[in-house]
């Protein structure tokens, strides 16, 4: 009796639970993300997911156009006019850019937003120095509330583009009592910034987590408004009614979908199934093998456009050019040895085997996708004989017949056996083993040394490594080589882990930065790339391609190099799809 009851309950539960298929005629885009942003505060958080959502809910004065990869005006009428000394930039704000309460965006809002970015009391420690080193002050035009001038600290390439990631916030909404009116830019940039009681109280309220997480507080100038945030599950943004930019012709003012839902799925297998079941419309976060498997299915190709696209991030093997000689032996001090390492790594094979061909190579620090890429530099081919020759020329010879090269250093015979550190992961482990095998053929022993992120990073900063596998993110916007390639970044335990650089390369970096002339800037970067190529502090490995899938029920399924790689606001639901559900055909 009990058994029968139990079976009945179980079967009814199953029947009740049968899943409802998604209604694909809805004008809703479901975009896949792998983790939720650490808040949607306009200043206080810094994840890439946040930027993805802000594409649709927030606006900046200028913007990087992901189609042309040039900066274009967004909330201003034109790109800024520089003064003769290139230290002052005049902007004029567009008319009729309205906040949600109907008031117009003006220069006071801009000044307020900049003050928030520069203030030490804002919780934006990670990015504040990017702005405090560029902006000196914002000067309002007394007779024109739509005009202002940005005064820069120095001549710097970033001066023209500094507003591209500074989101505008409404002064009358956040600071109606004008608490920040009493604080000047000089006060904010002073070494001993004075926190008054009133300011502290105001910032305690402004930095409150509600302003990062409560949908009602997440306001902005974008066409969409956050309406729901279900923690670790999804964020829903909905099109505003009577949005000020509805008649604007720019593609960034389009707002075809009524709703955009950012759905969080961490696990690759689950994302794969979600695509199969058409539970998501857009993804740039699916695994390579999974996408390749999906592309073998006819119904998937009927339902989705999918591609592998290049991007700006890259992986490298760093070689310690300046070891202390005590803890770390001088394996890679000689440029010939470093060049030999470049000949020894079977990068094309690694791309083929580990990335299934879905990665690209680059010769130096700048991605081939950028206009400043030095295309005269040739990729270093895999050539064990050439590597052997270089190693012999550098004095590394197998004198004791054990197939490992050695050299007399300070009277002691040192075998070429070095530690290759990397952050533990199954893929990295396989790659390191492929490298090890290849290096052994030339008489070099690489000892794989996996470690966790904290230790790896600490060792890198302390230059306590022989060789290391690392990677850097990137974007179409200018990446200041200061952090990675300037000699000061080696001394101060910054990101110049390998010790690259000399006066010449430092001068090139400074030249690229401290100019506004595109030709001077480009030439300096071309020469810097040539120098890095020659010196070989890194063996540049590969740049894995970004994986895209966009549902065919939308038009305008553009895919781009620059993250996020898609324009969700431009996805226009096809009329033909709005009246029927799609069903996958079975089997192939």
């Amino acid at each position: 009796m009990i058994k029968k009851l139990f079976i009945t309950l179980f079967v009814s539960a199953i029947l009740v639970s049968c899943v409802q298929k998604r209604d694909l005629s809805q004008n809703t885009v479901i975009a896949h993300i792998t983790s939720q942003p650490d808040g949607l505060h306009p200043f206080n958080d810094n994840s890439s997911m946040r930027t993805y959502v802000f594409q649709y809910t927030q606006k900046t004065l200028i913007k990087l156009d992901i189609e042309s990869l040039e900066y274009i005006p967004s909330l201003v009428k034109n790109m800024p006019i520089a003064s003769d000394d290139n230290l002052s930039f005049e902007y004029e704000i567009k008319n009729d850019v309205l906040w949600d309460d109907g008031t117009e965006l003006n220069a006071e809002d801009v000044a307020f937003s900049v003050k928030l970015m520069l203030c030490p009391l804002t919780n934006n420690a990670q990015i504040r120095s990017n702005y405090t080193s560029v902006i000196k002050s914002i000067e309002l035009e007394p007779n024109n509330p739509m005009k202002f001038t940005m005064h820069a600290q120095n001549i710097h390439w970033d001066n023209k583009f500094i507003f591209s990631e500074l989101y505008m916030v409404q002064k009358s909404l956040w600071d109606p009592k004008g608490v920040l009116d009493n604080v000047t830019f000089a006060d904010l940039l002073a070494k001993d910034f004075n926190e008054t009681e009133a300011l502290q109280q105001w910032f305690n309220a402004y930095n409150n987590a509600d302003n990062s997480y409560q949908p009602k507080q997440l306001v902005g100038l974008g066409a969409y408004q956050v309406t729901q945030w279900v923690a670790s599950q999804y964020i829903t943004i909905e099109k505003k009614e009577n949005w000020w930019g509805a008649n604007d012709t720019s593609v960034y003012s389009k707002a075809y979908p009524n709703k955009i839902i950012f759905k969080i799925i961490k696990e690759d297998a689950s994302s794969y199934l979600a695509l199969k079941n058409q539970e998501i419309d857009v993804t740039t976060n699916i695994g390579t093998i999974k996408l390749m498997k999906l592309q073998e299915r006819e119904y998937f190709n009927n339902n989705y456009d999918s591609e592998f696209f290049d991007r700006y991030a890259f992986s490298y093997m760093g070689l310690n050019m300046k070891p202390d000689g005590i803890k770390r032996k001088p394996f890679f001090v000689d440029q010939k040895v470093r060049r030999a390492m470049a000949y020894l790594i079977p990068i094309d094979e690694i791309i083929e085997v580990m990335m299934h061909g879905k990665a690209s190579r680059q010769t130096s620090l700048i991605s081939p996708l950028k206009k400043t890429y030095n295309d005269t530099l040739k990729l270093i081919p895999f050539d064990i004989e050439k590597a052997k020759q270089l190693l012999t020329e550098a004095g590394w010879v197998d004198t004791d017949g054990d197939n490992i090269r050695d050299k007399m250093i300070n009277g002691v015979s040192v075998p070429f056996s070095f530690k290759l550190s990397y952050m533990s992961s199954p893929t990295s482990k396989e790659i390191v083993l492929m490298m090890k095998e290849s290096m052994y053929k030339a008489g070099i022993v690489a000892e794989p040394t996996p470690m966790d992120f904290t230790l790896f990073y600490k060792n890198a900063m302390d230059h306590n490594f022989d060789g290391m596998l690392g990677g850097w993110g990137g974007s179409a916007s200018y990446s200041n080589p200061m952090q990675l390639w300037h000699t000061s970044s080696w001394v101060t335990k910054g990101s110049n882990f390998c010790g690259f650089g000399d006066a010449e390369s430092d001068a090139l970096i400074e030249q690229a930065n401290l100019t506004l002339d595109p030709e001077v800037h480009r030439n300096a970067l071309l020469k810097l790339q040539a120098k890095v190529y020659e010196d070989q502090p890194y063996v540049f490995l590969y740049s894995t391609k970004r994986k895209f899938a966009i549902h065919k029920r939308f038009n305008n399924r553009g895919m781009y190099y620059e993250r996020p790689g898609v324009m969700l606001q431009n996805l226009d639901l096809k009329a033909a799809f709005s009246s029927k559900n799609l069903a996958p055909t079975n089997g192939q």
Partner: protein
Amino acid sequence: MFKYTLKRILTFIPMLIAISLLSFVISINAPGDPVERLSKAAGSEGSAEQQSGASKKIKQELRRKLGLDLPIFYLSVTDLASSDTLYKVQDKYHKANLEALTHQSGNWEAVSSYYASLLALQKAHQKVDAKAIVANDSSLSLNSVNEAANQFGFEIGSLLETADKYMVALKFEKMKSLLADNTFLSTLEYPLKDVVKTRENVLKNATKWRTYIPAINWYGGKNQYHLWLVGNGKDRKGILRGDFGISYIDGQPIADKIWQKVWISFGLSLVSIFLAYLISIPIGIYSAYKKDSIADKGMSLVLFVLYSMPSFFVGTLLLLQFANPDHLSWFPVSGIQDPTLFDPEWSWWAKLKHRMPFLILPIITYTYGSFAFLSRIMRVGMIDIVSQDYIRTARAKGLGEGKVILKHALRNSLLPVITVFSAIFPMAIGGSIIIEMIFSIPGMGLEVYNAILNYDYPMIITVFTLSGFLTMVGYLVADLLYAVVDPRISYK
């Protein structure tokens, strides 16, 4: 029974204080630094210039904001040699080095002078202007000046983190030779001499005996534990008033973060345990009743095969079988609700009905592993009871087998099963990372994992403390259930 329950609840208080203190001390002293993590924009090539001085200031500012610049507890037990102001040193690696040096020599004052002289040398080094030097002396190249200055600068940084006598001596030698070979670095000569002198002082005036004498340092109310416990009277109220603090990762109140997720973890645990018991107990009884029969052996085999399959494997397998248009597309793939349909204004019942399909596969994955050991425990307990005299008597009295087993034997064999039941409570706060990852369930497992990776101390301490509390509640419930099930057990 009521008095007993009250007494047990009163013992929770000192236990909770002890657990919270232990978790506090462990997490603060664990390697890794949340400020390092928070003040880095990891992995990016960087845009505008970042000066090390500025970032040190930013880290100090962050430390102050998070209260990490205070001592850990009201008092610390060290030795006579150690300083009570060491907590004020901001850099974790410098602090560790100073501790090591003090432990070597036993003379904090000497070590402190040595540290101060190193910092002075570092300051002097920062004033070295390579371009000005080259401008004054055209025989020098900017390259060589920079190279020498950079090498020197790096050695200073390294010395600040090195306590090893041999390494320190080597570095002094290197710095002296750099100075000798490069006269343009003469401004660093006196500061370096000062460093060498203070170092010799550390070695000469070692008072190692002091390291063998314990000392207690009192810090008063201004410490991290007190801040956590009672707050600061401004933005933090302290745990005693229900303020678990703010997450270092995203600034959200810990209480909100936990509350959003704990109900799903607890719900899943509860349903899973309920189902596990519902299925395992009859299996256990049947296996005991038909001991060593083919049915018993067959069921044991199946259950142990299930037990041996890891949950990530089974979870993925279930998804690929039941949420896959190529096979059976019965259940959704991820999450606990459909974002296009779910309405937060729905009634409790409507929400549950909507969420049911999403929870079937995770519940199966959560539950199947428990069948084997629960049914084995039940079986063993039952076999033991069934062989007792009173069971033979009950049969002899003419009672039906069903009544003998289910009425007389079952209750007495529940004791081991109840013990296992007490484990359900802490599972609510722990969750299961694997299942939550595979099925995208917003539970506590992933939250705790994330907190550990990012050194989110407030979250770690709160979860640790709550976990301890729930374990105690679990034991209390188990003890009370023993008394309910077996009248021989009494707490009067």
